[in-house]
């Protein structure tokens, strides 16, 4: 069977099997537009890969672990990473590989090409997958081309593409991908043009950069922009850019290089050329019958079209603009800027605001003053929660981006091994655990103190040695933890907790390769000229990972202060404490019970033990060594019980959620993303946590 079809041989029947991008390119070529020479691998090639290798069903199994529509975005990330890893590790079947290699060699020889996605359904008038699937520039030789074809196929299952399908309710089982292979047009000036602006009816837009188009498309190079009258092509406005860089071919792929000074002062296009580009976009619109969004490049004096697709005005307002904003493929440069903003501005401001808010004695306030304080705290929490979603959460992509690069280069068996490389020496949460561990150690070595603590816990005897010790531990832990509350009851609970800790051995640390070894193995995969990028990316990813701990803790402080103010206000109104709503689930007797629940494998290992469903602080302090922690979502203030756990089950899904991170830290079996975990499992149930497969077995339910 022959797979590769040159653009000029495509016919109307091929349309569905080559995808919108290939179809548009072939039409442009047939209509006489200048288009770089190329061919398409239709969806049959994709199917000939994912069918016989079993990949197709493995992908569907991955996506059907829970209802697709109820997957969180973080779970989409994880699923996408696992699926990508499957593509990386699954070679083409030998006959397919031989056939494709031959066809590619005959067509492209040793010429440099672009390898681009062309999924059916992509770029159609109704849906815009713009930028969700991957493209690679400057690829050379059949082996390398085939490797990149696989990456383009994998990008059919990227997090962004999955989210988009979830939103549009597209059927994942029917998804397939065609791939365009096209000779690389090493344009000196490139850009995009909208024959009709997506936001303004009567104007057209042209954008241009020096070098390849990639910098403009992924947002790392700011373009010059021209606004033209749509009916006449008259230039209305030129908005110049700060021209600093250009993306150019590198030995492998492309890279951003500084512009020489003489080009910085010159717009990439002369006015006449802007109009030529505009004319091209209008011609494309006339041929295709609707406004077009085209990519172009100048080779010498001649403009070539690289791509044309309908301007999706209709969808850009709704799903379109959402996909645009949600664009999960944050680029490296983008993330570096975000990091600077977070570390230099946002986190210090958040810390300071928490400090400022905390200096108030609520009990001593007049009612109207309290009202005012509550209002301020509500406002601060709402504002910072928004920042959390708008800035902190997107920065988590730093760890993701690293994970993808790591997996691409090292193809590890465990697609989440990169996490071990990101783990900081000390996190706020583990710091506290280390202090608890020290206290438990003192108890292990001092039977007298242990007995005194036990007496304090059991008989409620006021033993000063015990109390002294406990107060010291409390003050050492600091005020801002859920663990430390006021009053003697809490000290008793703390006594119980420390005695539990003392009865077992010091917490395990995961074995395996050290951080240094992993780091060396990673950096060794990069040649001299990529080395700096690799180091910077690792540094960025570590900052991203660290922030997942810190932002929660700082935001948690503000939330706690808001809760305290709410509780105080409720107390004065004579209500039961509103900030302390009973969080422990008390399930009604039910006819349905779980036997085996499915989540995501977030920490390898197998554990069997008694479940403790944790909803409140009291649940935490009553935790017994060897129990399995079952919770809605572990927050950093809960992690002190982790050293006592045999395993962790969490409703919230994701490999980079706190539960998963801390479980990995302690080498505990962990399953996350179990729907209804805290409602279906009850404290006292006997559980088996299979952290290899992501399964929780419920043996006996009381």
């Amino acid at each position: 069977m022959k797979f590769l079809v040159p653009f000029d041989r495509l016919t109307e029947e091929d349309r569905r099997r080559v995808g919108g991008k290939a179809w548009a390119l072939s039409r442009l070529a047939r209509e006489g537009f200048s288009v770089p020479r190329g061919a398409v691998l239709p969806v049959e090639a994709y199917r000939a890969y994912v069918g016989p290798t079993g990949l197709r069903e493995r992908i569907l199994l991955e996506l059907n672990r829970k209802p697709f529509e109820s997957m969180r975005w973080e779970e989409m990330w994880d699923a996408a990473l696992r699926i990508r890893s499957l593509f990386l590790k699954t070679p083409l079947p030998a006959p397919l590989s031989a056939a494709l290699r031959g066809e590619i060699e005959r067509t492209f020889g040793d010429r440099s090409v672009a390898v681009r996605s062309s999924a059916p359904g992509e770029d159609s008038a109704g849906a815009s997958f713009a930028g969700l699937h991957e493209s690679f520039l400057n690829v050379r030789g059949a082996d390398s081309i085939l490797e990149h074809v696989r990456l383009v196929w994998a990008s059919l299952w990227s997090d962004g593409a999955l989210l988009y399908r979830q939103e549009l309710k597209l059927d994942v089982a029917e998804s397939a991908m065609a791939v365009v292979i096209q000779e690389l047009a090493e344009g000196e000036r490139s850009g995009v043009a909208f024959s009709k602006s997506p936001v303004e009816e009567e104007v057209s837009l042209v954008e241009a950069v020096w070098g390849l188009n990639q910098g403009l498309v992924d947002g790392t190079v700011a373009p010059d922009r021209w606004v033209l009258d749509r009916s006449s092509g008259t230039l209305r406005q030129h908005i110049g850019a700060e021209r600093l860089d250009a993306v150019r071919p590198a030995p492998r792929g492309t890279r951003k290089v500084p512009l020489p000074p003489e080009l910085r002062d010159r717009p990439p296009l002369e006015e006449g050329e802007v109009v030529r580009v505009w004319t091209l976009s209008m011609e494309a619109e006339n041929r295709f019958g609707c406004p077009q969004d085209v990519e172009w490049t100048f080779l010498g004096e001649r403009p070539f079209l690289l791509q044309a697709r309908p301007v999706t005005t209709g969808t850009r307002g709704e799903a379109g603009s959402r996909a645009w904003n949600l664009s999960l493929r944050r680029s490296f440069e983008n993330l570096k800027l975000l990091r600077e903003k977070i570390e230099r501005t946002l986190i210090p401001a958040l810390v300071k605001e928490a400090e400022d808010l905390s200096g108030v004695q609520l009990q001593s306030l007049e009612d109207d003053q309290l009202e005012k304080v509550l209002e301020t705290r509500e406002e601060a929490l709402a504002r910072w929660t928004k920042v959390y979603w708008d800035e902190f959460i997107p920065f988590a992509h730093g760890a993701r981006l690293f994970g993808q690069v790591y997996n691409d280069r090292l193809k590890p068996e465990d697609p989440f091994r990169f996490i071990d490389l990101l783990r900081p020496e000390k996190m706020v949460g583990t710091n506290r655990n280390a202090r608890l561990e020290e206290a438990a150690d003192r108890l292990r070595q001092d039977p007298g103190l242990r007995a005194s603590l036990a007496a304090f816990r059991e008989s409620r005897a006021e033993t000063s040695a015990a109390q002294c010790f406990l107060e010291a531990v409390s003050s050492d832990l600091g005020k801002d933890t859920d663990l430390v509350l006021d009053g003697p009851e809490t000290l008793r609970a703390l006594a119980g907790f420390l005695l539990e800790m003392a009865e077992r051995h010091a917490s395990r640390k995961p074995s395996g390769e050290s951080r240094e070894e992993l780091e060396r193995a990673f950096l060794d995969r990069f040649g001299e000229e990529e080395r700096r990028f690799a180091e910077e990316l690792l540094d960025l990813a570590r900052a991203s990972y660290r922030l997942r701990d810190e932002d929660n803790i700082h935001l948690g402080r503000i939330q706690r202060m808001r809760d305290e103010a709410r509780a105080e206000a409720a107390r004065r109104r004579g209500e039961a404490s509103a900030g302390e709503a009973p969080r422990s689930p008390r399930p009604e007797p039910s006819r349905v019970r779980p036997r085996q629940l499915v989540g995501q494998p977030a920490g390898p290992g197998l554990a069997r033990g008694t479940a403790r469903v944790v909803g409140s602080r009291e649940d935490l302090l009553g935790f017994k060594a060897g129990e399995i922690l079952v919770c809605d979502a572990i927050d950093p203030n809960m992690t002190f019980v982790v050293p006592l756990c045999a395993g962790i089950v969490e409703r919230r899904g994701g490999m980079l959620v706190h539960g998963a991170i801390i479980a990995r830290e302690y080498g505990l079996p962990c399953v996350t993303g179990v729907p209804d975990a805290t409602a279906l499992i009850r404290s006292g149930d006997t559980l088996t946590v299979d952290g290899y497969l992501g399964i929780v077995v419920v043996h006996d339910q009381g």
């Binding site: 079993g54 197709r56 069903e57 569907l60 199994l61 996506l63 059907n64 672990r65 829970k66 089982a173 399930p587 009604e588 039910s590 006819r591 349905v592 019970r593 779980p594 036997r595 085996q596 629940l597 499915v598 209804d676 409602a679 279906l680 497969l693 399964i695």
Partner: protein
């Protein structure tokens, strides 16, 4: 949880409605044994019916132990079964029906399997009722939920 109860009961009912034949598991003479049987069920899910001649091994087995399991599933013998198929195992005591109970059961069973009319009328055929104690519903490859039948 009421919602979960309803959802699972509904999934069980839909699966039973979608299938006509299941795999009956019995045990006798020191060995497990499986047979294909046409089944029917009461709308309240408390009882399922199937018929067999009394000379069969399955009949001997179920008389010997008094308990059976019945597997009902919607696999299509395709690779997609791994993520698409659901399976249901129902367990409980089994008994041969007589008198008015048999009349009621035969009505339900024939409504589902009209072609078994002659078979059911034969004096050598036994109509059996499986008194469902619980259903094990398997979905998404590995998720298992248990539905206890209220009596």
């Amino acid at each position: 949880m009421k919602e979960k109860d309803r959802e699972i009961a509904e999934a069980v009912r839909r699966l039973l409605e979608s299938q006509r034949v299941g795999v009956l598991g019995t045990y006798g003479a020191g060995s497990p044994y499986c047979s294909l049987v046409g089944f029917s069920f009461e709308p309240g899910l408390e009882r399922l019916y199937f018929a067999t001649t009394r000379a069969t091994r399955k009949f001997a087995n179920l008389i010997e132990t008094g308990r059976v399991a019945l597997l009902v599933d919607n696999r299509a013998n395709r690779e997609e079964d791994l993520h698409e198929a659901s399976a249901l195992t129902v367990v409980g005591p089994v008994k041969e029906l007589t008198g008015t109970e048999r009349e009621r059961g035969a009505k339900v069973h024939l409504a589902r399997h009209p072609s078994l009319a002659g078979f059911l009328e034969s004096p050598t055929t036994a109509l059996l009722a499986l008194e469902a104690e619980r259903y094990f519903l398997v979905r998404r490859f590995q998720e298992v939920m248990v539905l206890e039948v209220e009596r």
